[in-house]
Amino acid sequence: MTDLSIENTGGRLNSIVVDWSDEKQAFHVPWGKVMMWIFLISDTFIFSCFLIGYMNVRKSTTEPWPYPSEVFALELFGNPVPLILIAIMTFILITSSGTMALAVRYSHFRDKQKIALFMVLTALFGATFVGMQAFEWSKLIAEGVRPWTNPFGAAQFGSSFFMITGFHGLHVSVGVIYLATVALKVLKGDYDRKNNYEIVEIAGLYWHFVDLVWVFIFAFFYLW
């Protein structure tokens, strides 16, 4: 095998030329990882379309936009705390990203118990996140927020909210199933046959992406 280290390909920029002119493959990573990245880039465009669409309707409406910080406030110890549920959800998702990073790390050592432990932990954090989102949806629906109307201002608030957080919640739910499946297969020793634990890292990429999308939703929808 040819030596593809940065030193031997003449620096980082020159390595692009070397990689793209390679006769067999341009990306020197497992194909599954490239496939996941291609999926994630297309998913980036889907979520961007949602967020840019939200920007468009928010900017073009003549109705006043609701105060997200008040709409998502929760009563704690007798005082309404602005946006507190969303803040807790954010911390839960970041924590789940941390535990996923640990699972990926242990996959390099083929430590099955620890991989499965941290993946299940990640999935549980994800399930908690979805649960809190369901609570948030029920609360808003009870207050009269609908995709076509809401009592707090511009109707576009409801449609953007349900579409964006709904699609993100779907991603988290799918991720929980994905991680649980891989964790189970790790424990069963399914990846020992080929001694190939790349799928843990690939599942990790998906999970971190879900966290990444939330960073943008949190900033643009809840804080703006």
Partner: protein, 123 residues
């Protein structure tokens, strides 16, 4: 595969980034909690957002340790989104203008407080 062996990073890197993401999230939450307004608010929100996104992509998603070919293949396509943002911003401004021209400004252009709708006990 040999390359997995080169991708082992000390556990401390993850813990540090993890703590950093916590701190950055707290900061962006405090922007709302202390009700910063105007340019300060928008710039703080965007700065904290980009820092968080950067650390997630670079460290958690391992992009920092990837080869330049993969990094550029991942990071350049989303740049075209700036064009869509530009188009949609100008389009939204146009739509807003025609709405004001044809339907006039709505009577209650003031933003609505939640407690005025649901009452003090609303939450």
């Amino acid at each position: 595969m040999e390359h997995t062996e080169t991708q082992q990073h000390p556990i401390g890197v993850y813990l540090k980034v993890w703590i950093l993401l916590f701190v950055l999230s707290t900061c962006s939450y405090l922007v709302d909690y202390f009700q910063f307004q105007g340019l300060v608010r928008w710039s703080l929100i965007v700065i904290f957002m980009l820092l968080k996104a950067g650390f997630i992509v670079a460290i958690f998603m391992h992009v920092y340790w990837e080869r330049m070919t993969l990094i550029t293949a991942i990071l350049t396509p989303p740049v075209v989104l700036l064009v869509l943002i530009g188009f949609m911003t100008s389009e939204a401004g146009y739509t807003f203008g025609t709405r004001v021209d044809h339907f006039g400004q709505p009577e209650k252009a003031q933003r609505i407080h939640v407690k005025d709708v649901l009452g003090e006990e609303g939450h």
